[in-house]
Symmetry: C2
Subunit: 413 residues, 2 copies
């Protein structure tokens, strides 16, 4: 039998899980204290729902589950190869949330401030830092069309990151409608703007030349692509300058209010900046989009935005929605690289001899629990060697069933 | 788009999740304090591993994931329908743990005391209390062939159940080798004993007649089936009586030592009893098996046993292994039925008017956090009605941005 996990998937060792659990619980405690409530949805979703979900490139990365029994036989007899699957593993938590809200709205408050943190699946080409199964950690506010929703999500997410030790990060923010307005003013056609934005979002990965090549490939007007190239080559661009291209100033004004309010909330512990080139990959975003970048690490450590159209696909009527997702895997990888030690109970071993009354051993271990997580282990003949092994395995102390000694193991720093 | 979760799967509302998270964290804290360490494995496993895993009937319930891209095309061209899938969703946490241990043993301590709590999947015919996606909550001790492993797992699991309010439960215990010895002495053939046990385990569901009919269907000797029927009809049977049928008394003596030691550890808070008909469904158990029953509820709330052969399938050499799994879904369902209120932070709403400085609103909310989880909400025109709505939604208190009032909402008991 094969002993390695499947390609792109990962076994987590106890030390990694201790960190992951600590990070997750720390984030959850900030979210919960701020009145967000956790829900859970199945890992599997209906295939049709997934197909229609505007997930961009993620739709090509869905793990599909094979039909079973009579349904599968019927498909095979017909030779209907496209119908082999009727469900798939979710590729994000936003589609399931939208379905969930549509199904359960009668039992949910308005606005609904919700936490989801769980696994999602994408059949990516495996590469460093890109797993096929990974944890997302999202908060969303559903049913609030004011910019207070964006502000609150940014405030809570930033405070969660501060709690686990991240600092000097920047919240980059944009509004897709501003970007659309700008692109339209450059000569891109209205119907193609979402597609243009998806290419535009790859700026970090494929550069200005790459984006322009992709847009030319999509048969966008050459003059528009040239203007965009010019704009991108010219570097930064102020919110005021963009606002001038727009007839309706509301989007720019609201974005400015979000920036000002978050700046006040940050207390100088983090930054927020308007980022005219920010798009975010997903097709479903309709307005403000944001992500968090940390100067010490490339790429974003959190991302989100407003997706007012998604729930309407299920419900027939639109419900305003904004979400912010912490890149849980990214953050854990950074903390692991820093050899971050989560502040959890230290490990103690209680050693006992073969002839000990094992009930009494376990009862003594219970009495020692509290400051320590206490594991009972048979005492080895060579105690010195055993103590060395325990120290290397991260034990902070050793106690003995026979006597009241507690030996604190030296730190290896 | 379809708004309901897939058949046999479930959306969890905030109140349910609050309970589930509390139960899980309570169990985890007992496990961790006792020196067990959490790990995590992927939801998906290699199809061949799953097929060879001796999971009994569960092997018919695996959700298989469709191959993709070129691999799928190749299979379809060949018309090789049996190879449509090369991975599947795990049906339990024991197979992944065995693979994990084989893959990571160089980094793991001996004995390895491990926690797993996560989702598993079985394509069961949906019925009340049987979900197709559900959470298992397991502890295992790998690499300890002494009965101390069984004793420790029973002690820790029982204390976890006590912590979340279960009491007056009974740990039923047996050893498959005793059962095998008894069956052999009745005339069942050695090579058929595992298969006989799988039928035998259905005693609760299909009764004595059903078990005997199934065994006759499996072409077991009629005289053996008759003797078994006689034995089952005669009711209880002591460990001493069984020991008399066995040449090797070790299994019976060890079982008695486990019973005696656990009885001492229980401090009278729960019971332990030898149960000669206990089998447990999985094919992979090799020795002691146990489950926990609670007189107020039918069926088991936890189950486990020794499975010394499983890791050897991956590693080529056997590693002793014992596990105990709490029926997390069962326990949460019982607590929900009892309207159990987990002791977590109560909910407070901080109400603000449209013209409030939203940064100041969020800062005030932060100051109120601690005893309460504080959510900010716009104040409605009809305050009385809003307070009623908040009370119904489970809020314990309301504060106001405008003033320092805190209104405690009456309990509906």
């Amino acid at each position: 039998m094969k002993i390695n996990p499947l390609k792109g998937m990962k076994d987590y060792l106890p030390d990694e899980m201790r960190l992951r659990d600590y990070v997750q619980q720390s984030i959850l405690s900030v979210y919960r204290a701020s009145g967000f409530e956790r829900i859970s949805t199945p890992m599997l979703e209906d295939a049709e729902n997934l197909d229609k979900s505007e997930g961009g490139d993620n739709l090509n990365l869905i793990f599909k589950v094979l039909k079973r029994g009579e349904k599968l036989e019927a498909v095979l007899q017909k030779g209907d190869e496209k119908s082999l699957s009727d469900m798939g593993l979710r590729y994000d938590l936003t589609l399931p949330l939208s379905r969930y809200y549509a199904a359960n709205r009668a039992s949910l408050p308005t606005p609904f401030k919700v936490i989801q943190t769980d696994r999602v699946f994408r059949a990516e080409r495996p590469q460093k830092g890109r797993l096929r199964e990974f944890v997302q950690c999202d908060i969303d506010i559903l049913g609030d069309d004011s910019i207070n929703a964006e502000i609150e999500l940014i405030d809570v997410t930033a405070r969660a990151l501060l709690t686990i030790g991240f600092k000097d990060f920047t919240v980059n923010i944009n509004d897709r409608r501003l970007l659309h307005g700008m692109l339209e003013s450059m000569g891109f056609e209205k119907g193609t703007l979402s597609s243009v934005c998806i290419s535009f979002d790859k700026l970090d990965k494929i550069g200005v030349e790459g984006v322009c090549a992709e847009l030319s490939g999509k048969e966008c007007p050459t003059c528009a692509v040239d203007k965009l190239k010019c704009f991108l080559d010219s570097g930064e661009c102020s919110l005021e300058r963009i606002a001038q291209c727009m007839e309706d100033k509301t989007y720019a004004e609201n974005l400015q209010r979000i920036v000002d309010t978050v700046r006040k909330l940050s207390g100088g512990k983090y930054n927020i900046a308007y980022c005219p080139s920010l798009v975010r990959g997903q097709g479903y975003y309709t307005g403000v989009v944001f992500e968090i970048a940390c100067k010490d690490f490339s790429g974003a450590i959190a991302g989100g935005g407003r997706y007012d159209g998604m729930i309407g696909k299920f419900l027939g009527q639109n419900v305003s929605a904004v979400g912010f997702s912490i890149g849980f895997e990214r953050i854990c990888a950074i903390l692991m690289d820093q050899a971050y030690q989560p502040p959890v109970a230290r490990k103690m071993a209680l050693l006992y001899r073969d002839d000990a009354d094992f009930a009494e051993v376990l009862l003594k271990a219970q009495r020692l629990q509290g400051d320590y997580a206490v594991t009972v282990l048979p005492q080895a003949k060579k105690l010195g060697k055993q103590l060395g092994t325990l120290e290397n395995a991260g034990y902070a102390a050793v106690a003995f069933f026979d006597n009241e000694d507690v030996k604190v193991l030296g730190k290896k720093d």
